[in-house]
Amino acid sequence: MADTNSLKDAEIMQRVAGYDSKALEQLYDRYAPILYTLIKKIIPEKETSEEVLSEVFVIVWRQIDQLDFKKNSVYTWLITLARNKAIDTLNRNSGKQMPDYNDDYEKENILPKLSPEMEPMELQEVMNKKEMLVKALGSLTDAQKYVLELSYYGGMDQEEIAAKLNIPAMTVKSKLQVAFGNLMKKVSEAG
């Protein structure tokens, strides 16, 4: 058997899909810090964020057959899954009216719906670009960064951001579109 440390993310995930618990352990070792960092940014409370991290790995183990290895990026799938789960938990804990959490709800709202055409990304490859990403993000205006943060890490929709910033929802919409467009431009130029 090959050393799992040298395996690519997709190779580990393929082993996880065969219910190889060692591969899942390897995936945990590799991804727990980045997923926990993201979850903790969304839910600052330590205990809850750790619970969510555990639940994310349980979902991976249960729903691994929902990931299309040939078309999707494992990195993006895991990050999106963790983000969706954390936002869902945040909304439930804040008393927001939410549907019952069951298998159908999980498939519809928590599992990522990724494009069938996307470039595969490796965690290590992304981490190597950290400096460039910080620079690209720094090139946005404070207002653009703020609306992006409220949306991505705060899980707020247009109306909620508009209410928080006391600006029209249409302005929020255009700010989000411009900010995201600019970020893509900067990253593409740097990459």
Partner: protein, 245 residues
């Protein structure tokens, strides 16, 4: 299809910021299919996913890995059902191949389950074969019957013990145990049948031996009676000859 419009909606969808009305519009564009910028959707999904890489890394508590392992262990039945469903779907008829090297290296649960089944079955058959051989060792039965001692069966009928597996491999171990347990009744069932066969052989042999003894005893008895008769006849003849003289 207006690419700019669809790109604007894609940006909002990736951020999770679409209104219900915009969701429907975007879904209609996707369903239309032709010309939908799937590649751009993938690029924006990748872009938003790299944002967490700009944060300062934080690490969960060390014991969280064990807690996660426990959660996974608790769902072993669900996973087992999935494995079985997957097996049934992909390989309706399959002859498993046992490879001891892979077992040591910790292959996936599905393969281990198959190997367990194969090796367990082979071991059971081997044990039974050895036990039957021991059971029909007539010298032992004969000795025991002569000494009037019960016939002993020396076969080992105990199940195989499972090795301990740490951390996230607990569910693998559990599934192995479950598979082993499934075979225990089968093993003991066969064993009961074999015990009965061996005991029957012993009983038949002892009965045969007893019949031989009885026939010997009866022949001795007959001989005794015959000798007594001959002795009596001889005495009568001697007495008769004495009176004739």
């Amino acid at each position: 299809m207006d690419k700019k419009k669809s790109l604007d909606l894609i940006k909002l969808e990736v951020l999770g910021c679409l209104t219900e009305q915009d969701k429907e519009k975007l879904q209609a564009m996707k369903d239309e299919g032709d010309g939908f910028p799937w590649k751009e959707l993938g690029d924006y999904q990748n872009l938003i996913a790299i944002l967490p890489a700009t944060l300062e890394l934080k690490y969960p508590a060390r014991d969280l890995k064990d807690k996660t392992a426990t959660m996974l262990f608790n769902m072993r039945d669900q996973i087992k059902a999935k494995i079985e469903a997957k097996k049934a779907k992909e390989k309706p008829v399959e002859v498993p191949v046992a490879e001891s090297v892979e077992v040591e290296e910790g292959i996936n649960i599905e393969e281990q389950v198959e190997e367990n089944i194969t090796t367990e079955e082979i071991e059971i058959v081997e044990k039974e074969f050895a036990e039957v051989e021991e059971g029909i060792n007539l010298n032992e039965v004969e000795e025991a019957s002569i000494k009037n001692e019960p016939v002993r069966f020396t076969g080992n009928f105990k199940g195989k013990s499972e090795p301990e597996t740490p951390s996230l491999q607990t569910d693998e171990v559990e599934i192995k145990e479950l598979e082993t347990k499934e075979f225990e009744p089968k093993e003991s069932g066969k064993t009961v049948v074999d015990r009965e066969v061996i005991e029957k052989i012993a009983r038949d042999y002892m009965k045969g031996y007893e019949r031989e003894l009885n026939s010997l005893r009866s022949s001795v008895k007959k001989n005794k009676i015959l000798s007594f008769i001959i002795f009596a006849v001889a005495i009568i003849l001697i007495v008769a000859m004495y009176f004739i003289k």
